[in-house]
């Protein structure tokens, strides 16, 4: 029998003999991977949403006050053009704005037909050269007399950045927790298996078995724990996420014109990452638990 076959056979037989313990270990590791995975899914979506918004980041909308007229508009236009960093301007009249809104609302546009007066103000779309100068441009634009309100996406992006950051930190903490706790759990499970086989290991060493050969079945068991946990947790994440998309996905698309990242795009990455993480944890955990035994 080759060493590899021998080790794999040994590994499976020892897992089978302690199946309850191995099942619990896999369940615990799966749960932690599940949490980590959901953090990741949330992170990817918020990140994509942020990027979508950043595309419009070079546009600042400058709304005129109520009592403006063509002269005032003219004046504001000149002052806007004078601001450094402004690339071009586009005037949107209040009629134009209403028209645009009707188009956006489509089938529901009839609701706007009953309006006696057009509540929308005249506005300028100000395009900036450089995204970084957007906030200075916005500041200067808002101080121009006749300008009522300045809207650009800085605030939203700042808020989103905070959310992204929170998710990032959360994932990090979760990840460290996952790794440390998993290593401890795996090490403990393997250690119990090692204890069960203490006599056998002792004899093997007298017979001249190498450390790596003695270690192999235990390391393999550790790796299997990681691998099974990765497979199960990825499966669960896929299932949960497709359900979320089913329920929420279309509604979200209506509101913010951004759809959720398709589940299939994430599954491969999650599986590969978790498999690597799980196998790594398994190897470290099993090495720790058998190291002291081999030293004797």
């Amino acid at each position: 029998m080759s060493r590899v076959t021998y080790s794999i056979k040994e590994s499976f037989s020892q897992m089978w003999r302690n199946k309850g313990m191995y099942f619990t270990t896999i369940a615990a590791m799966t749960a932690m991977m599940l949490i980590l995975g959901l953090f990741f899914v949330a992170f990817v979506n918020v990140n994509m949403f942020t990027q979508e918004i950043e595309k419009d980041y070079n546009v600042i909308q400058v709304y005129m006050g109520e009592k403006n007229d063509d002269v005032a508009n003219q004046e504001v236009q000149q002052q806007l053009q004078a601001i450094t960093g402004v690339d071009s301007l586009e005037f949107v009249s209040k009629d134009q704005a209403l028209q645009n809104l009707k188009e956006r609302w489509g089938d529901n546009a009839y609701l706007l037909d009953n309006l006696k007066t057009n509540p929308l103000p005249d506005s300028f779309m100000v395009y900036v050269n450089d995204k970084d100068s957007a906030s200075t441009v916005a500041n200067q634009a808002s101080s121009i007399t006749g300008v009522d309100d300045v809207v650009f996406y800085q605030d939203t992006i700042d808020k989103l950045a905070k959310v992204t950051h929170f998710i990032e930190v959360g994932s990090m903490v979760c990840m460290i927790f996952l790794v440390v706790v998993s290593i401890i759990i795996v090490a403990n499970t393997i250690k119990l298996t090692v204890f069960n086989k203490a006599k056998e290991i002792g004899i093997m060493k007298y017979l001249g078995a190498t450390d790596s050969f003695v270690r192999a079945p235990f390391v393999l068991s550790g790796m299997f724990i990681g691998l099974f946990s990765a497979l199960i947790s990825t499966g669960l994440i896929y299932f949960i996420y497709t359900k979320i998309i089913e329920v929420l996905g279309t509604d979200i698309a209506k509101i913010v014109s951004v759809s959720l990242v398709p589940a299939m795009d994430l599954v491969g990455f999650i599986l590969a990452t978790f498999a690597g993480l799980g196998v790594g944890i398994g190897i470290i955990g099993s090495f720790i638990s058998i190291a002291r035994f081999l030293r004797k």
Binding site: K199, L207, G208, T210
Partner: protein, 257 residues
Amino acid sequence: MIEFDNVTKNYGGNTGLNNATVHIHRGDFVFLVGPSGAGKTTFIRLILKELEPDSGTITVAGKDITHLKRREIPHLRQKIGMVFQDFRLLEKKTVYENVAFAMEVVHKSKKEIAERVPYVLNLVDIADKADRYPHELSAGEQQRVGIARAIANQPRVLICDEPTGNLDPVTAMDIMKLLEQINIRGTTIVMVTHAKDIVDRMGKRVVAIENGRIVRDEEGAYGFIQEDEVKNFSHGNLSSYDEGLSFDYLEEVEKYV
């Protein structure tokens, strides 16, 4: 085959072995005797590289193992067969599997194992019980399996730590005959024992250790019983004697009391 030159090994304040020099040659059959705590097991553990000597040099099969690297230890141990007082068979494996296990763990081929295991089981005269489990065997039979396992990989040296310690005198002598046969076939044997009758009957080389020192090294008998041992014995102080003491020895002691 095994050479100890001025080897000293202390455990903290305890003496394990004190400046011991012993040369064991290929084909020798050597008894290692001495009171409990003398340093016999220490001697064996040094051969197996379970312990590092404080000073001196140790050579096994022509190789200086005094400062052997950790990863070279398995290779050393493959040249040495171990037989234990408590047999140390794996309860969940049959006789055949126990012996085959010894070969599997050093990566012998299926074919080699299939040829060699029946051969050694035959040699130790236990072939008819190949499919039994250890608990279905008598102590003497279990020790035969222990010996079969120890010689499965054709070691150069067989080290036996009180192999007859758990056996009655008759079974013990059977085991000794078996070890002698193995020795005649060329395997060097080092055997730790407290059984005076066995040592006397075999008439082999005897190395006596006391307090970590080699106090005697000669062919023949276990040696005369020292007066203080007799005194200890007469006062009922058995602590310095293992169960391995045979009846003959007890009778001998009683004569002195």
